[in-house]
Symmetry: C2
Subunit: 253 residues, 2 copies
């Protein structure tokens, strides 16, 4: 766990205790997010890789083009950038790479389209980045799901996936936000952090490779201000997308 | 000069001599393409980088978005991929990166839109990839320009550029084709090679950094067949675009 998470964790527990709210907090929240030490994924010939998530994964892809390895179908974000690198570097492996991120999606909406947009594709490697809308849309009053339903639905989706595709290798990327940029302000904290911790617990419990995007965006702000890396605190700029792609590629040997 | 060029060059001279055509060949064609040894370009703070060219540079960019550093405005090709890497790696430099490639363009069409699409942008670093259409459209009968006019127009454009922007650093990328894929067949050779040689002579004479794309695509075919790297012999696949971006980035320190 990095120092920032530890501090916020402490502050949260303090606030909750002082406010007498401790009994309302799920026991899972009180366990610190595990420090996931994931093994990297070794690519094999004919691997099928699927990127799933919300607008950050979608990134303006042409949804009418459901093909693999095509620029229009892969969008303009981290999935396209990471896929381009994989297809060049592993040209001998006959990889097939798909993007099925859909703008605005929360975890329950992945579940609604999972047969068509995951199970039928039969990925060997499934990458998920989901959760910022589960928090954001609750925060702005347009969604009634909770932290608990986010984590429960995430686990249910992965159990369903493992049942259909027992050998699938999982990559779970951390939902992230950049504070003080447009859509994101201090009212997001500490609640949003607990969505990050929940995703990390799920990754740990399902043996997924964990991509620590929040840490990466925090570190990047030492080089350039937050607005350089994200347009609105949630969606990455070109620089931010490449930052993500490089970190995502760390999951692959 | 690599072995492949040397061999084709020899064959061309032999063919020309045997056919009694030697007197029709410009003296410039008979000089071997120079072996350009370019120094790399060091980026400075506030550098403005402009990608210019045809459809390979354009790569589906939104031409209504004339802004810098924006995914939609940069397209889905090597320019976007190289720009993403630069913006992430050099986050401290306040770079501005533009794409003004236009599908179908030949050298004379760059000249027609040069004030608006280059000189007004005032790039510190100008990258050009132009020439495949100058040959292709001549070959298919839709264009009457020649090898000589390609080289002459290229030189005139760079002289005009240097006059307006004396300190501009130039990058010239080699027009390339992948033989036996769709649009490209043996009828392209050896004539198409001489467009490559012309671009290389221009790069050498103007002190430009030279990007040897043909060599790169030739080498890549040891890892995967031509159709993996280009959809039609002229336009790169995702893997081909990343291959190009990586080579382009070699121009930058």
């Amino acid at each position: 766990m990095d120092a920032r998470i530890k501090k916020e964790r402490r502050n949260f527990i303090k606030t909750a205790a002082v406010g007498g709210l401790l009994s309302l907090v799920s026991p899972q929240l009180l366990s610190a997010a595990p420090d996931v030490k994931s093994a990297k994924i070794t690519l094999s010939e004919n691997d099928v890789i699927l990127f799933q998530g919300d607008s950050i994964t979608d990134a303006g892809r042409n949804r009418d083009n459901r093909d693999f390895n095509q620029a229009g179908a892969l969008g303009r974000g981290y999935a396209f950038l990471a896929a381009s690198e994989l297809l060049n570097k592993h040209a001998d492996k006959n990889l097939k790479i798909y993007n099925r991120g859909v703008s605005g999606n929360k975890i329950f909406q992945l579940a609604e389209r999972w047969d068509k947009d995951c199970l039928e594709i039969k990925p060997n490697i499934l990458s998920l980045l989901i959760g910022v809308n589960d928090y954001w849309h609750k925060h702005n009053g347009s969604y009634t799901g909770t932290l608990q339903s986010y984590e429960d639905d995430f686990r249910a989706l992965l159990n369903r996936t493992k049942q259909a595709l027992p050998d699938v290798k999982l990559i779970i990327a951390e939902p992230f936000a950049v504070n003080n940029i447009s859509a994101v302000d201090r009212t997001w904290y500490p609640e949003f952090d607990h969505y990050r911790f929940a995703a990390q617990r799920v990754a740990s419990d399902f043996g997924a490779v964990w991509i620590p995007f929040q840490k990466v965006f925090n570190g990047a702000q030492k080089k350039a201000p937050g607005i350089y890396w994200t347009t609105d605190g949630v969606h990455p700029s070109m620089a931010g997308s490449q930052l993500m792609a490089k970190e995502w590629l760390e999951a692959i040997k």
